[in-house]
């Protein structure tokens, strides 16, 4: 219980720091009235715009007004769209999840499988090939990989669309682009974690007892190697969200990444803040989920949490 309360308090503090940072940076880095109405707008229109959005107030007053509204559950109105920022962001979240969740699944499937194969054949050709692929996978920037995939599958072979969100096939290349980098990272960590536990006495004992190899992996090796893998998975969630900003622009995928770029460019303050709120909340949720998974995989951590440790 104490564990959860402490984690939630930390989560709220993190969100507060993120939205406060975003608030200050956005207000000091450009005037939304000029960004949206341009300098050709009449002065009275610029003034009316600033007044109607409270931008004519001192920044401290704006900040406290902002905190008051978000604590009352109101994330503000989009200056570009005219609707409330939460609605604007919320309608994009499923679109981004439609590529990030499959990308995460893909990276787990490919990354863990490749990592296991490499770990069971250390220093073999297979191991070296997998690790070579992994290094290539996480060193190639996602926008380069994305364009490369478009060149091959859209331009040369013409089997997949190059961008947009008109059909389900449009999601394939963004998913692969997002998933490959994460899979490469996961493969390396899985291999390293497994190599460490495969030398442990309990694995040797299981093998000596005649336990089938797959059972040794599933019941003995993987659970013990899971802690570093879960840690990496937590990081990968953040990596996927950051990657979505780039990939959505390369593939013209209309998710939160595209919205973030457009909103920052037009200084749509409420939407940017709402998006950062969403990103921070996702990262915190991923971290809490990681902590919970730790305690599931490691009974020592569970016991420590039950004794009141955070």
């Amino acid at each position: 219980m104490t564990f959860l309360v402490v984690r939630l308090a930390r989560a709220l503090l993190t969100i507060l720091i993120v939205v406060s940072f975003a608030f200050v940076v956005l207000r000091l880095s450009g005037d939304p009235a000029l960004a949206i109405l341009t300098n050709e707008a009449p002065p009275e229109a610029l003034l009316a715009f600033r007044q109607s959005w409270g931008l004519d107030e001192p920044i401290l007053v704006q900040y406290f007004n902002y905190l008051r509204t978000i604590f009352s559950g109101d994330l503000g109105m989009s200056m570009r769209d005219g609707r409330d920022a939460f609605t604007v962001v919320a309608e994009r979240i499923p679109i981004t999840l439609a590529i990030t969740v499959p990308a995460l699944m893909l990276s787990i499937m490919i990354g863990v499988t490749a990592g296991i194969c490499a770990a069971f054949n250390p220093n073999s050709r297979l191991d070296r090939s997998i690790m070579l692929g992994a290094v290539a996978g996480f060193t190639v920037p996602s926008f380069v990989l994305g364009l490369l995939l478009v060149l091959v599958f859209s331009v040369w072979f013409g089997v997949l669309p190059s961008g947009g969100a008109q059909r389900w096939t449009n999601a394939i290349l963004p998913i692969v682009t997002l998933g490959v980098g994460s899979a490469a990272t996961l493969a390396r960590y899985t291999r390293a974690a497994l190599l460490e536990v495969l030398d442990r006495p309990y694995v040797r004992t299981a093998s000596a007892k005649g336990v089938p190899w797959w059972q040794t992996i599933l019941c003995h090796a993987l659970p013990n190697a899971a802690i570093p893998m879960v840690t990496i998975l937590g990081f990968l969630v953040g990596q996927l969200i950051a990657g979505a900003v780039v990939v959505e622009n390369v593939f013209s995928w209309p998710g939160v990444g595209r919205l973030l770029v457009a909103s920052v460019a037009s200084r749509d303050l409420a939407v940017v803040q709402c998006l950062l709120f969403f990103v921070a909340a996702t990262m915190i949720a991923a971290n809490i989920a990681t902590d919970i998974l730790y305690s599931l995989f490691d009974p020592r951590l569970r016991a420590s949490a039950n004794r009141g440790g955070a």
Partner: protein
């Protein structure tokens, strides 16, 4: 290639030729649909809200004004929703409306719709805040009245010889009053606006695109395309790949580095060239050193524009002769010299000014304009050779660029919003203009000439005033003319379309390249 009357005529001829080439491929398919990849879509679907590139490109096909500009004839003003018009007195124009013009919802346009479209309620925009571009075009309008169901009179506060051009240009399009009132709010109206143009808005999804559908009751003839999908593809590499993959039929904003690849592809056409959009460097003439006209003259003389045009634009754009375009008609001064390149004279001017190498800031955005960063780097080197130390200061957006005190040079472009000098430099540096508001150049003589020009109906007097105005700009160098901007497109060879040397993309029946009659 400079934008001259001849160029415009050649463009029209080329358009017809392209149409002839494309026709056989389309003949079997009937009226085609087309997917156009563009970097952005308009924030609002009403032309009164903006005159930026995404808005002009797309909404040009959705709305009509009383008059229109004929891009095939040097932007001559020709009838559109008004069948004819006449000047009753120096401040009053009377328009006879075209009969039986249908809105997109099937209703018939009336004089009441015209009065409403040009009313203050529309000019003021959402919540009456005045956040529209209408003031730029309708500033001189005093009153609009319907004298009968098919006749409208527009009265101006003072004589405005450019009024017809403004009405034909933008932000004066006619919308359905009944549909606007039925929408109940501006937000609802933006979802389903009703105009009279060749295409109606079928779907508008932010960051996805805008889908237009043919308005078959269009007064100007049958729209050549059944459907136009403007798809938002922000990355230029993605647009090119999409065209090569066959996902798009036409792409805009083709970068220079793709010219050769597109040109070498037999299935594709590379289109475009110089457009009516002048790239300039704005100068804060109140800043140290930049307040010295000799330093500004030196900066201008140090620029080898021909080299920039050749290297960065593949010789496909041009340097205009002064702050003017041939579309200004009888006030265009063809013999006015283009800005020169004289590094020796520039060096002398710098030395004579006593300048000692103090940094001159150049506030630079990251390729807001095509080739912007490369051009800035080239310019900094050219200035260095004449003894000027110009330092590049990266900025994120225009509000940072305009942050006072500016004390710098920076990139701008000036579009002749209507074919008259009042639409170009005067629109920016005259009263209420975007650059005027920054208080970066004070020339009482220029301001006085501008006011006289704006109200003068005498052709000779206007021409003399225009000449003097160009002289002042050439002498005082309140901004540095770089070149005309370029607008480049690539399309499948089978698509019957060609661009105008301007920002709007016309897919309607008035674009000769889309002429599919008889198919």
């Amino acid at each position: 290639m400079p934008i001259t009357r001849r160029t415009l005529m050649k463009t029209a001829a080329a358009s017809v030729a392209l149409s002839a080439l494309a026709r056989p491929a389309l003949a079997d398919k009937g009226r085609p649909g087309i997917v156009v990849a563009v970097p952005a879509q308009p924030d609002f679907t009403d032309p009164i809200m903006a005159n930026n590139t995404p808005t002009l490109r797309t909404l040009y096909n959705v709305y009509d004004g009383l008059l229109r500009l004929d891009y095939n004839d040097n932007l001559k003003v020709v009838p559109a929703l008004a069948q004819s018009w006449r000047m009753l007195n120096p401040t009053t124009l009377e328009f006879a409306l075209r009969p039986n013009v249908k809105f997109h919802d099937g209703s018939t346009m009336t004089a009441d719709d015209v009065v409403f479209s040009l009313s203050e309620a529309r000019r003021k925009g959402p919540e009456g805040k005045g956040a529209t571009v209408a003031a730029q075009y309708q500033r001189t309008i005093d009153n609009v009245v319907a004298t009968d169901g098919r006749t409208v009179q527009i009265t101006t506060k003072a004589p405005d010889p450019a009024l017809e051009k403004k009405l034909a240009a933008w932000a004066c399009q006619i919308v359905s009053r009944a549909a606007f009132e039925k929408a109940g709010s501006w937000q609802a109206w933006f979802q389903a606006p009703i105009g009279t143009g060749p295409y109606k808005i079928r779907e508008n999804r932010k960051d996805v695109g805008l889908i237009l559908e043919a308005h078959d009751d269009y007064w100007g003839g049958r729209p050549p395309f059944q459907r136009i999908e403007f798809r938002v593809v922000p990355e230029s590499a993605s647009r090119v790949n999409g065209l090569l993959a066959g996902d798009y039929d036409l792409i805009s904003d083709l970068p220079r580095d793709q010219f050769d690849a597109i040109g070498a592809n037999d299935a594709l056409d590379l289109l475009g060239g110089a457009i009516l959009n002048m790239r300039i460097l704005a100068i804060d003439t109140t800043a140290p050193w930049l307040s010295d006209p000799n330093i500004r003259r030196a900066m201008s003389l140090a620029i080898d524009r021909e080299l920039i045009v050749k290297q960065l634009w593949a010789d496909r754009i041009a340097v205009p002769n002064g702050a003017q375009y041939p579309i200004f008609g009888d006030v265009y001064i063809p013999q006015f010299p283009a800005v020169g390149y004289d590094p020796k004279r520039a060096t002398e001017l710098v030395k004579a000014s006593g300048y000692g190498g103090e940094p001159i800031p150049y506030r630079l955005l990251n390729n807001w304009y095509p080739n912007q960063v490369l051009t800035a780097q080239v310019l900094a080197e050219m200035w260095k050779t004449v003894g000027l130390n110009v330092t590049l200061q990266p900025m994120e957006n225009f509000s940072q660029v305009y942050q006072k005190p500016i004390g710098a040079v920076w990139d701008e472009s000036i579009v002749p919003a209507w074919p008259d000098p009042t639409a170009m430099v005067w629109r920016q540096y005259g009263p209420g203009g975007g650059l005027n508001k920054l208080a970066i150049w004070n020339s009482p003589e220029y301001q006085q000439i501008g006011v006289q020009f704006e109200q003068s109906t005498d052709s000779d007097a206007r021409r003399k005033l225009q000449q003097r105005s160009l002289d002042i700009i050439a002498d005082q160098v309140p901004f540095i003319i770089l070149h005309s901007n370029g607008g480049f497109y690539a399309k499948k060879r089978t698509v019957a379309w060609a661009p105008y040397p301007a920002l709007p993309m016309d897919f309607g029946p008035f674009n000769p390249a889309t002429d599919l009659r008889g198919i």
